[in-house]
């Protein structure tokens, strides 16, 4: 790749942002920024615990189900318990006015006991704030479907099921969406090797050894 740090025209006097400084961008920061940083101190941690009105209300309502509240790069994240996930979702939509499920996806942490993280990105039109809900779920567990709260979750959950293998209870029609119905395996899992799958297919269907 080209040498990205030397722009052809950058004069020496310019002071672009260093990786550690807090950006001034008015982007998705929903909540008050963390405390001001010292001048030449080590770079501040990117993930800080979050305590504000919003988290207080959630903790009040759900108590222990809110496992953690952090702010990562000025974006609010609530880590919740899977058991109450649907109720928290409903509360978020109805009371906290997060009426848009902007995104819903999963992340695979294969070495953890509860392997997957379900990540729901919420947005509130009335308040113009964002919130991320994360919950850990094991490979053998089924999650509650969010389609009764946000109908957009229908295809989003189908995609999670397709690519990760997490089943959703209460989903109106859970089947694969991007891959063919008869596909074996869930590609976005970390133990899914594309090359291995491809060579296996070639061996099985074409009878030759793949040249890759």
């Amino acid at each position: 790749m080209a040498d990205e740090s030397k722009a052809p025209q950058s004069p020496e006097s310019s002071q672009p942002a260093t990786p550690g400084a807090t950006p001034a961008s008015p982007a998705a920061a929903a909540l008050p920024s963390p405390a001001a940083k010292p001048a030449a101190a080590p770079p501040p941690p990117v993930q800080v615990p979050l305590e504000n009105e919003l988290t207080r209300r959630y903790r009040e309502r759900f108590g222990r189900a809110i496992l953690d509240a952090i702010e990562d790069r000025k974006q609010a994240i609530l880590i919740v318990d899977i058991a109450q996930f649907l109720e928290i979702a409903r509360y978020s939509r109805d009371t906290e006015k997060f009426d848009l499920l902007e995104d819903y996806t999963a992340v695979d942490w294969p070495r953890r006991e509860k392997r997957f993280d379900l990540v729901a990105q919420l947005y509130s039109f009335p308040n113009n704030v964002r919130l991320r809900l994360k919950t850990a779920i094991g490979a053998d567990q089924t999650a509650d479907s969010l389609t009764s709260v946000w109908p957009v979750a229908n295809w989003l959950e189908r995609e999670i099921f397709d690519l990760f293998g997490i089943a959703f209870q209460g989903h109106p029609g859970l089947k694969r969406i991007l891959l063919p119905d008869e596909w074996q395996g869930h590609p976005l899992r970390k133990d899914y090797d594309i090359l291995q799958q491809d060579t296996a297919w070639v061996r099985e269907n074409l009878g030759i050894e793949s040249g890759q």
């Binding site: 389609t147 009764s148 109908p151 229908n154 989903h171 109106p172």
Partner: protein, 452 residues
């Protein structure tokens, strides 16, 4: 001599003109239709800021020949379960209907294509009504679910708009009093006005109906590629498809000829009875000469020798025809006078038919497509009531003019206005049920929110 051979020869002797005409129609009209396709493509390109066919022949002029050859040498594919006889016959029927109808059209005082039948235009309309048979049979014989649906839609559209066209033509017949093609045109000369001005509502209605008759946009849903249901022509490929396609363009020539004859004064020049406009007679020769001059100028700019020669050939052909026009004029050589009326008449007729077809093409490139139910609603709820009221209007106008001696233009103006108003009221009254029903239907099943 052998009596069989004798009877054959007698037949030929009596009917050789008709046979020759039939042969010429079958030989020439597909070629002409092919060049109308080229004209359409070039026009479309011009209106769309591009050039159109340019490669085959100079400026794409040999494109129709290339297309015809390509279609002829294509493999003849017939679907396995198709009804072979009907599959073969359907496009032939479609083409035959169009070509036969062309036989009764006249594009000059003596240039009847085949004969001057006394039921003239009625024959034309009647024979072209056989066209839909070709379509529905083709759709059925394809053994394809979507072909038959497309064919039925197309047929429904065609017969609905034939009714409209018929009513519009009736208003013209009221004015002319005759069905003979030659007599209609002469009557327009005698009446000093084209019937488009005497029966404007009838003309507009016929124009719209004829667009729908020929499956042209905005009424081309049955053959539109982007629609869900493929048209009746789906399973047809190669020259069979070409027959359908050329039949459609031949049909365009037919309806344009009918419209021109009845509404646009046929082969009369503009203002035929106004003597001081006689200089318009020189127009054909001048136009052709101008085209020839333009070709000569462009010939100098052609890059290749072949193209130069081609342009020179075209230029000299134009000059030659212009010369014939000039020589046939009343002031010039006497022996050529006999072809003068026919020649000039043919020129004006062809200009009007071309203008009519140009309007067809122009509308195709400009307007989006109707949905099928909107198309049928336009035909039955709007145009047929309007056409019916128009017949009444024209009849009343005639009664006022001949019976009560009113001024012609006043009577026409008043009755046309009354026709339009009465027609609109009738449409509004007719449509109120349809509009309410469709609103109710659209409001109903969609209430249920998408909650699983």
């Amino acid at each position: 001599m052998n009596p069989a051979l004798h009877s054959v020869l007698a037949f030929l002797q009596g009917w050789w003109v008709e046979l020759l005409c039939a042969f010429l129609i079958v030989a020439l009209v597909p070629l002409i239709a092919g060049y109308i396709v080229l004209v359409e493509r070039k026009l479309m390109a011009d209106m769309q800021a591009r050039l159109g066919p340019m490669r085959v022949g100079p400026h794409g002029l040999l494109q129709p020949i290339a297309d015809a050859l390509k279609l002829l040498i294509k493999e003849d594919i017939i679907p396995a379960e198709a009804d072979k006889l009907v599959f073969w016959f359907a496009p032939v029927l479609s083409m035959t209907a169009a070509l036969t109808a062309l036989g009764a059209v006249a594009f000059g005082p003596w240039f009847h294509v085949a004969r001057d039948i006394n039921i003239g235009l009625l024959f034309v309309v009647g024979i072209s009504a056989l066209g839909p048979f070709g379509i529905v049979l083709g759709g059925w014989a394809s053994n394809n679910h979507y072909s038959i649906i497309g064919a039925l839609r197309s047929t429904a559209q065609l017969i609905s708009y034939e009714t409209t066209a018929g009513f519009a033509l009736v208003s013209g017949f009221l004015l002319s009093g005759t069905l003979r093609v030659g007599a209609i045109v002469e009557q327009q000369r005698a009446d000093h006005a084209w019937y488009a001005f005497l029966a404007p509502v009838g003309f507009i209605t016929y124009l719209i109906a004829s667009i729908a008759e020929t499956n042209r946009a905005p009424f081309d849903l049955p053959e539109a590629e982007s629609e869900l249901v493929a048209g009746y022509m789906t399973e047809y490929s190669g020259f069979r498809w070409a027959l359908y396609f050329l039949g459609e363009y031949a049909n365009m020539i037919v309806v344009a000829s009918v419209g021109t004859t009845l509404f646009l004064g046929g082969w009369l020049r503009p203002f035929p009875s106004v003597d001081w406009l006689g200089w318009l007679d020189a127009l054909p020769a001048l136009l052709l000469a101008a085209v020839g001059v333009y070709c000569l100028i462009r010939a100098g700019k052609q890059p290749a020798q072949v193209q130069k020669l081609f342009m020179w050939a075209v230029a000299f052909a134009c000059f030659g025809v212009a010369l014939i026009f000039a020589l046939a004029a009343p002031l010039a050589m006497a022996p050529l006078h006999i072809i003068y009326p026919g020649l000039y008449g043919a020129f004006w007729f062809l200009v009007k038919v071309s203008a009519y077809i140009y309007v067809f093409m122009w509308l195709r490139f400009t307007l989006p497509r109707f949905r099928f139910d909107q198309l049928m609603r336009l035909g039955w709820h709007i145009l047929i009531p309007l056409a019916l009221v128009n017949i009444l209007g024209v009849g009343i106008a005639l009664a006022l003019i001949s019976g009560l001696g009113w001024n012609r233009w006043l009577a026409i103006a008043i009755t046309t206005t009354a026709t339009v108003i009465a027609g609109l009221l009738l449409i509004r009254w007719n449509d109120r049920h349809a509009v309410a029903a469709s609103l109710a239907a659209e409001a109903s099943p969609v209430e249920d929110s998408y909650a699983g």
